[in-house]
Structure formats: structure tokens, C-alpha cells
Point group: C2
Chain length 399, copies 2
């Protein structure tokens, strides 16, 4: 939130100390990145008596506005003018040039650039708002390996008399330290986002392998993922757990890559021996997932191992019963069966949806957990959309 | 490195400001974690005039010594006494208690704990070195979500007369801010390590799936990985690139999970049609890997797509020639062929190693890049160990 703090002529050292202390504590006190960057910008402005300022975060070749403050303009006006735009990293803007070159720039007057300045200054913001930018200090935010992850722009330093004056050289002001903290915050956030992406990507790549092995199953995997998520949410699980089940579900049959075609694709009933081998896909799958390195794979392993267990203990591979079967396995188990019933598989013709629902009901408390069947019923209409409208199915593309 | 800086009675605010500035700048100026934590500990000691101190990093239920300094003891003696040990997170030590409870502890005299103190203090270090610990300030290092990732212990605060005095309450000293930075540094480092592990894990899980599909191939994958690494290193690639190739190599045939058993496992020569389908494993593999999310998968995709291309342009799937074939593909190509020649495959008997080497030589400048063949020759003895001593093969276990 922007605060219209009047800038008082306090001793710079005191202000800086206070800024660093509080930002430092905030760094480990939680809260999201945007709030943190807003706080860093506010403290940087107070430190250098800047009337306005913007903090940009770099993503590949672009800079996005992550925080913007201006004591002369109401926040909604700044937001409307700026926050949806992004700039290219190039000499077509001051921030773009600072990001590209990694050099801090101290501009006494934005409307009187020295001849031969290696960048342009974009005056669209001033034109849109009537604000008058004069002195500007633009500082690259560099992460530990030196790569620039953003730009801090401070605008219109106010002198003691309230007039706009040029900024001092950045090395003298301690502002570089606040910039470092902003860079660390941005870097940390990106590391976390990359980590989340890589975790999902492991699932996606294995799912891609499973789809190849069992052609025509890709809609099956999408249905199972979506419907498991619907039921998990209906059972009152929090968003995080619903998400874990939704991501883990497509891996339920990954172990089938280890089953021979002669069994996997057999167009007739399996012999007892063949059925035993087919059932081993649960164990093969657990081996493929291995010792889980994160909660996503831990859930996937649960699902792989237990989606063929039954509430009454008559399932496989371990004959677990009741709540000994992890909820993830009970949920994926029901959507897997339902999808198999209504789909065209090599070993049977599809069954009408109403008959499939009846079969699910008849197995309440036998094959299936009664609570999961009730949750299934409570979201049935939404769940059936998976079959009537393929557009609702997840794409498994956006890692 | 420990420095025997005499502790002068400077104004605390000046020292703190200086500390925060320099640590803040260091946070983004690069350098490894251990150096950074050593620096934070040194500054924390100066800030609070502590004669000694230790910084512990938490890993699951244990605390490891990450930095330790003592102005009265030479560094080798501290190192020998401490650095290989680790402590359990429990009330059996002060640091363990602080890590478990998340509470800072300010102890005026380590040998006179108040009755009913909820922890013990371990005096082994004093006993081993003859040093006398008296006042101690122990602070939990908390990461953004509040989880404690380590402990900072400051020992023996020196008063103006050089005598040991108790520490002030931590909230008053600004030490919490340095602790925050230490926590962010540790957190950042762990995020990076987790990210690296997840990236490798994607490869490992896909490799596990590939091994199932093609039973008996697991030594093949291990040989190809090790030998590709040996040749890449012999060609002068830096460690990072050698590592990328070593990790990408086991995925070279991942596309075979998409090829039907009737072709993949055929014990006789393939028909022209079947051979065409078999060759598509390069394209299927690229689809399984998808749009690479990191350099490891980018290299894997290169290897998957190009390990059957040939130097003279007669390979598949794209008929690339010469240096248009990525080096990773040229390197994995040669070790894959060599391993296939000397191994027992369903479609041929193994060939003696000397004959296999001759075949590689005869294809120099035809199938294979002459430089890669030369690199192969330069590490031949080490490479052949892969076949004589399975212990040298990587285990693909340590993600």
C-alpha cells in the first residue's frame, strides 16, 4: 500500500539503519514477495527522500512493475497507468538500459538528457498522469551470480526546501544494500517457483511416457486428474492437498510401462497368471517413483500403490481395508473405475453413464469408501462434464 | 577464516549499520554459502563484542557446524574439535533446544544454569580445548515461513574492561537482523540444492521407467553415462558440461517406451517398416522430454534426438552431419554403439572388446566425429573398466 509519508530531513544513517533492520527482519518473517518489495521501495524512497519510485522485476527480456509509489498521485491512478504494462530490456527506456547494462544511472533532469545518452526516457507516465519527473536514480538489482533480476527507480529527490534536487552518487547512500535485499527477495521467489515447476515437470514427463505406452489413454489421465480433484475438494481437503491429488492422479498407472504388450494390450480376458502380472503394475510404479523427493511424488507413490485397494480389504497389492488405504488412493480408485466403465477400452465396450453410476453406488461400503461415494454424488454433475465437454479437462502442458 | 580482530568499544549503531550494509551487499555479490556465513558470524561477534561464536545449520533433526570463530583459540584447534561433529535437535544442548523451540536464549553463565532450565549445556568443547565459556546468546535462524534453519551462538561478551559480561536482550541489539540474513542465505542455498535434486530426479525417474521397459539394460545405461562423461571430460569440456552429458546420457533411449514389444524385443532382424518405427524412438523420446524446463533436460533432449546421427550425414532422424550434430549427441552416439557391440543383446552375441575398438576406429570420420574417436582412445583404459569392474559404474540412486 502506498503511504503518503512526508519526507522529513532526518539523519540519513539513522534512517538507513532502521530500514535495513526492519527489512532484514521482514526477510525472514514471512509474507509474500509483492508486499516485501513494496516495503523495500518505501524504505528506499524514505532513505533518499524520493517523492516517487518504481520497482521492476525482470523476466527474460522484459521488466514488469512489481511496486510503484508516488506521494503526489493516488494509488489507483498509478496502478491503472502502470501495472499491466511491461517494458522490453533495451535502451528504449531508462530501466531497460539499466537492466541490460547492469549499471546504475543518476539523471539530474529526465527532460534534459546529456547529448549522446545511450538510452531514451519514456514520458508516457507523465503524459498520462500530469506528474512531472525530474531527477531519477535507477539501480540494477543483481542476484548472487551478478545477473540483473530487476531495477529500482527512485524519482524526484526532495531537498530541504521541498524542491526537487539531483540524487547523490548511489555508492554513498547505502541504497545499494536495500537493492541487494530486493534482489535476494526476487531471486528466492524465483528459486521457489522453479522448484515448484520442476516438481510438476517430473510428473508431466512420466505422464507423457505413460501416454505413449497406452495409446488413447491420454483423455483417461485427464479425466482421472480432474475428477479426483473435484472429489478431494468435495471431501473438504484444503487447496494444497487437492492440488497434490490432482497432480499425482495421472501417474496412477505409470507401472504399466513395465508390463508386456501381450498382457497390457490383450483384447481378451487375462489368465490367472497374466492377471497377477498385470496387478504388479502397482509395485512397478512405486519402483519407478522411488524414494519420494517431495510431497508431490510422495502422494503419487501413495496413489500408485493403493488405487486398487478396496474398502472391504479385497483389493491389491496389499489387501488394505478402510482408512488404512490413504485417502488419495481411495479417491483415485473410484474415479479410475468410473472412467474405465464409461470409456472404450480394448477389453470391453463402454457402459452408459447411468449404469456406471449405479455400479459405483452398488459398491458403496464394499469396493469404495462410503464417504468418497457421497462426495462423488455431490459433484456428479460437474464430474460428468469431463465426458461431455473435453475443454474442461486439464492440458498437462503448463509445467 | 577466523580473524583475531580486537573488539573495540565503538558505537553499536555504527557497527550495526556497517555490518548490515556490507552483509547486504555481499548477499548479492556472489561467493559461496560457507564464506557468507563466516562473514555474518564475524559481524555478529563484532556487533555484540563476543569473543567467540558458532553458526549451526539445521538439516532435518541435526545441527551441523557451518562456521566457528574464537579469538582465543587458533582456527585449526576449533576445526579439529568441532567441524566434523553434529548435534541432535533436542534439549541435550543449548543450540538443540533453541532450534527445537524457536526461542532465543540469553545465558549469563553457562556453568550456573537456573534450576529447572529446560536444556543442558554440553561442556565437551571447553574440556577439549581448555576454553572457558561463560555468557552465551543463542538465536534461532528462522526462514520466511518461520521454520528454524539454524542457530547463531555468540559466546563471552567482553565488557569495556575486557572482562566477560552477560549479553543484552537480543531485541535491543539489532542482532535479529543479521540472524535474518543468515537464515535467508541458508534458505536460498537449500532451495538451490533442492532445485538441483529435483532436476536430477526427473532424469532418474524416467531412467527407472526405461529400465523396466528394456530389462537387462540397466548396466547399459550406467556404462553409457560413465563413458560419455569420460569422453566429454577428455574433450576438454568444463565440469558443468561434463555433468550435464553424464546426467543426460541415460535418457538417450527413453523413446523406446513408446515402441511396441513386437519390434523392441524381436529376436530377429527387423523389416524395413519395423526399422522405421524403431528409429522413431528418437522422436518419441523428444516428445516425452517435451519443452525442456532446465539445462539438464535440454541436454537430454539433444542426446535423445541426435545420438543416432552420423558424422557423414547418413544417420537419423534428421540426417545431420559434422558439427551440426550437438557434441552431446556425438559423444553419447559413440559410447552407445560401443556398448551395444560388446554387450549381450537380444539381436546379437557380444563382440570381443578389441574387435569393437577396431570397429570404432574404422568408423572414424564416417559414423563418428574424428575428435570424439581420439578422445575415446585417450581414455580407453579407464572406459574399459566399466566392463571389468561394475563397482565403477554410477548407481543412479543419489538424487
Amino acid at each position: 500500500m502506498m503511504q503518503s509519508t512526508a519526507v522529513s530531513p532526518r539523519r540519513t544513517d539513522d534512517l538507513l539503519l532502521e530500514s535495513l533492520l526492519e527489512v532484514g527482519v521482514n526477510l525472514s518473517a514471512g509474507g509474500n514477495r509483492r508486499r516485501m518489495l513494496d516495503e523495500i521501495l518505501r524504505r528506499a524512497r524514505r532513505l533518499l527522500s524520493a517523492e516517487a519510485g518504481t520497482l521492476f522485476v525482470r523476466t527474460d527480456g522484459h521488466l514488469r512493475f512489481a511496486a510503484s509509489q508516488n506521494d503526489k498521485l493516488p494509488l489507483p491512478e498509478i496502478t491503472r497507468t502502470l501495472l499491466d504494462k511491461q517494458m522490453v530490456v533495451s535502451e528504449d527506456s531508462l530501466a531497460g538500459f539499466v537492466a541490460a547494462s547492469g549499471r546504475a544511472m543518476n539523471i539530474p533532469d529526465a527532460y534534459r538528457l546529456p547529448a549522446g545518452a545511450p538510452f531514451r526516457i519514456n514520458h508516457d507516465f507523465d503524459a498520462a498522469t500530469g506528474y512531472r519527473t525530474r531527477s531519477v536514480l535507477a539501480i540494477p538489482l543483481k542476484r548472487p551470480d551478478g545477473k540483473c533480476v530487476g531495477v529500482l527507480e527512485l524519482i524526484n529527490r526532495l531537498g530541504r526546501n521541498g524542491k526537487v534536487v539531483p540524487f547523490a552518487a548511489p555508492e554513498e547512500s547505502g541504497i545499494m544494500s536495500l537493492a541487494s535485499m530486493a534482489a535476494v527477495t526476487i531471486h528466492n521467489d524465483k528459486l521457489q517457483a522453479n522448484l515448484d515447476r520442476e516438481r510438476r515437470n517430473t510428473i508431466l514427463r512420466l505422464t507423457a511416457a505413460a501416454e505413449f505406452r497406452d495409446a488413447g489413454m491420454s483423455n483417461h489421465l485427464r479425466c482421472v486428474s480432474r475428477n479426483a480433484g473435484l472429489i478431494a475438494a468435495a471431501m473438504g481437503l484444503d487447496e494444497r492437498h487437492v492440488d497434490l491429488i490432482r497432480w499425482a492422479a495421472p501417474l496412477h498407472d505409470i507401472g504399466k510401462v513395465a508390463v508386456r504388450d501381450a498382457i497390457l494390450l490383450k483384447p481378451a480376458a487375462l489368465t490367472a497368471e497374466e492377471r497377477k502380472e498385470m496387478q504388479r503394475h502397482t509395485l512397478y510404479g512405486a519402483e519407478i517413483i522411488g524414494e519420494p523427493t517431495n510431497p508431490l511424488l510422495a502422494t503419487a507413490r501413495e496413489v500408485v500403490l493403493t488405487h486398487h485397494e478396496r474398502w472391504d480389504g479385497s483389493g491389491y497389492p496389499n489387501g488394505l481395508g478402510g482408512s488404512d488405504i490413504p485417502l488419495s488412493g481411495r479417491v483415485v480408485g473410484i474415479v479410475d473405475v468410473f472412467d474405465a466403465l464409461v470409456s472404450d477400452r480394448c477389453y470391453h465396450e463402454p457402459i452408459p453413464i447411468e449404469s456406471a453410476v449405479e455400479i459405483i453406488h452398488s459398491e458403496r461400503g464394499r469396493h469404495f469408501d462410503p464417504n468418497v461415494v457421497d462426495a462423488f454424488d455431490s459433484v456428479k454433475d460437474e464430474l460428468l462434464e469431463s465426458y461431455n465437454n473435453p475443454d474442461v479437462l486439464p492440458k498437462f502442458k503448463d509445467a
